[in-house]
């Protein structure tokens, strides 16, 4: 009996030693030290990134000093309190190096004895680049220190033994850096970086397993957060509920859109984070969430040229009309009373040879003012913007849809146009 007990104890000790060795060697990867930047530009960049990461929603208690922590986070495993991330040397992160800061961001641990709980979203932040982490560090070191001791966590046994988290990390916390998808464009990739990394959207929108880890097979598929449901924000889910990229960007900017307004936790995410981002970043997030971008990369002269060639080649008469004419003459050819003549029913269009129509498109018309309050035009000249073939196309389009007796009118060709303009 005693021998068994001894063996068991020995085994337990061995296991404990093994785990300690694993925690020591694997738990906290070493990170190179870099000096803390103090220039205004890096600090401003860090401030922006802190908004993108929505640090404040969790690291500020209700009515408390900004970033001084103490915000309660309820988990199925007990209650946690967020930490003070002001640079107070006693109670905050004063004196923390940029390397330790990055270890906490990316790996959730800067010491073997007290790793973080994954309420800190290092499970997403491992995608954050070292440069961005350093800028965040520079920003937090620059803010006013607040002396606010951390409230002790109230976790249930055995999870109140913090080093156990290394085991959880091994199972569930990725350490992959962000890798851009070369098939996708810059906006999509920027969106991916923000959504999957710093923005940590999945921490609410991805369902969790029994051990509280995000289920990566169901990424962004929607999850229950206390009383509410963080909805499915995968492309198909968003599209099915009527979201477009523009409306998503609008929602991120204002918290409201034709698809509804933000409430509960998402209201905080908009108020403290999304609305503070640049338009480009909001569009990037929307682009990624809707997987809404083309497969061709968006940068580079070649792409611009290729796309514009394509846009030009594909221009039907209708496209030409809409982009060149409709902003004055109206999408339905209705014109603007006493300002722009209507094309709908316009008899000039119905002149069979098309001379006047083509000449007007080519030369434009000077302001035709009757009195200070009544006058038409001026109309710009399109000679230097449209080819003869394009003029023929747009002329044929306006004739076919707006001219009285359109069915009798002959179709104009590029050669006809050239002849008229000779």
């Amino acid at each position: 009996m005693r021998r068994w007990l001894g063996r068991l104890l020995g085994l337990a000790l061995l296991g404990l030693l093994g785990y300690a060795a694993f925690a020591f060697f694997w738990g906290v990867p070493s990170v190179a030290e870099r000096p803390t930047a103090t220039d205004a530009e890096t600090i401003a960049a860090g401030k922006y990134l802190a908004a993108a990461g929505d640090c404040t929603s969790c690291h500020t208690a209700e009515g408390g000093e900004k970033y001084a922590g103490g915000y309660p986070i309820e988990t199925p495993f007990g209650r946690l309190y967020s930490s003070n991330i002001t640079p107070d040397p006693e109670t905050g992160i004063g004196g923390m190096t940029s390397a330790a800061f990055y270890q906490l961001i990316a790996y959730g641990a800067d010491s073997v004895l007290s790793p973080l709980y994954p309420a800190m979203p290092y499970t997403s932040f491992h995608y954050v680049t070292r440069e961005d982490s350093d800028a965040l560090h520079a920003y937090f070191m620059s803010i006013t220190p607040v002396n606010a001791p951390a409230k002790p966590n109230e976790m249930y046994f055995p999870l109140n033994i913090r080093p156990l988290m290394f085991g959880w990390n091994l199972l569930f916390a990725s350490r992959e850096p962000f890798r851009a998808n070369p098939q996708k464009d810059e906006a999509w990739n920027r969106g991916a970086y923000l959504v999957e990394g710093l923005g940590h959207c999945g921490e609410c929108h991805t369902p969790r397993n029994l051990l509280g880890a995000m289920d990566s097979s169901e990424a962004l598929a929607g999850a229950t957060i206390e009383d509410f449901k963080a909805p499915d924000i995968r492309p198909e889910g968003l599209r099915a509920r009527g979201w477009t990229r523009e409306n998503l960007a609008l929602y991120f900017k204002t918290g409201a859109s034709p698809q509804g307004s933000a409430f509960s936790e998402m209201f905080l995410a908009v108020k403290n984070s999304l609305r503070l981002l640049s338009h480009q970043d909001r569009m990037a997030i929307a682009t990624y969430l809707l997987n809404g971008s083309d497969d061709t990369p968006s940068t580079g002269e070649a792409t611009v040229a290729a796309l514009s060639d394509k846009a030009r080649a594909n221009r039907s008469g209708q496209s030409l009309y809409l982009s060149h004419c409709s902003l004055c003459h109206g999408p339905q050819g209705q014109g603007v009373p006493q300002t722009m003549p209507p094309l709908k029913g316009n008899s000039t269009l119905a002149q069979a040879g098309g001379t006047n129509l083509i000449q007007v498109i080519a030369q434009g018309i000077k302001m035709q003012g009757m009195s200070p309050t009544l006058g038409y035009g001026p109309m710009p000249a399109f000679r230097d913007r449209l080819s003869a073939a394009q003029m023929a196309e747009v002329a044929n389009y306006v004739r076919s849809v707006f001219a009285p007796g359109a069915e009798q009118l002959p179709s104009l060709t590029a050669a006809d146009v050239q002849k008229i303009l000779q």
Partner: protein, 174 residues
Amino acid sequence: MPTTKIAMTVNGQTVGPHEVSDGLAMVDYLHDYLGLTGTKFGCGIGVCHACVVIVDEPDGTSRTMRTCINGALQFAGKAVRTVEGHAKDGKLSDVQQAFVDHFSFQCGYCTSGFVNQATRLVEELERKPIAKSQVETKLADALGEHICRCTGYVRYYEAIRDLVLADPRLTTEG
């Protein structure tokens, strides 16, 4: 409404591709897709010229285009400059500074159009200087279509005239 995918260069930066409605006004594209709100929507019928932007041609010349009556599609593949693109490193361009120094604007709604048109004019004079005696006429031709309802134009004209006459590269004697 049909849509088309467009990309262009705005203030030196490649933007797009964006799938836009073929009838989208360029000014709305600048505002809603690019977040560039310095270009103002004024009359909406191509008269006031508040919404003018610069389009740089491949041959090194440039022209201005109204963005309220021209669809974004027309700008596909082009190099566009808006009022946001003039100041460099926090320093206003010479044209902008001249307007400020001359108290040229009050409400500022027409200013981005004037800045773009005057910038294009100054660049044209850099390539092709004109005689000092022709400056007044040239100014009236270039800026004459721009409507301003606050200052009565005089200060805009004075600002550009002083700027042009002070720069020996822009004019010749005579």
